[in-house]
């Protein structure tokens, strides 16, 4: 299937999305390109921390940066990332129909 290297790289991407604050930065960008200042305002984090997060997301190509004057706008880079996110959001809000018959064990009661 996947080489060990590819698995690591893929896991790395998911790990980046696995932190609420970082994920929120990405989902905000689903609406359209947003400046760092705007992301800082919406997230309530410090500008420094936002920048640190964006740097990681950029390196993993989960976000794309584009400068416009003094500001830098971040956006979803391509349809793969966009569709991946919308798929996961749909999966989340989806009715949990008989999720697991085996042993009645749920994440949330």
């Amino acid at each position: 299937m996947l080489t060990a290297d590819q698995s690591n790289q893929l896991a790395e991407m998911f790990r980046l999305l696995g932190e609420t604050s970082r994920l929120t930065l990405v989902t905000h960008c689903l609406e359209g390109p947003l400046s760092v200042g705007e992301l800082t305002r919406r997230s309530g984090l410090s500008q420094s921390l936002v920048s640190h997060h964006l740097r990681l997301l950029r390196a993993a190509r989960l976000l794309r940066a584009e400068r416009s004057g003094k500001q830098v706008f971040y956006a979803i880079p391509d349809c793969h990332v966009r569709e991946m996110l919308t798929n996961m959001i749909e999966h989340m809000v989806e009715p949990r129909g008989a999720a697991n018959e085996l042993m009645s064990e749920e994440a949330e009661p």
Copy 2:
């Protein structure tokens, strides 16, 4: 966009996929349903650890369990998860064409 609760739930799913060993269990299941024993063999992990991981993935509905005789087979539960994974795999193997013009900064040197 998303409520704080939804963001947490979504991040939780990504976090589960953000560990190489767990992700490998999931990607193996892309080929088709696999028994715990088979997954243990392929992953090289202990059966106990595999079971722990599968439990988490099941609870998040990233995998679905089905018993067949003595064995339990795990599979991708629906098309959302399957498409999400294939999208991410495509994104990963995609040519990194001008990933980030802003500051020449790469993930791997």
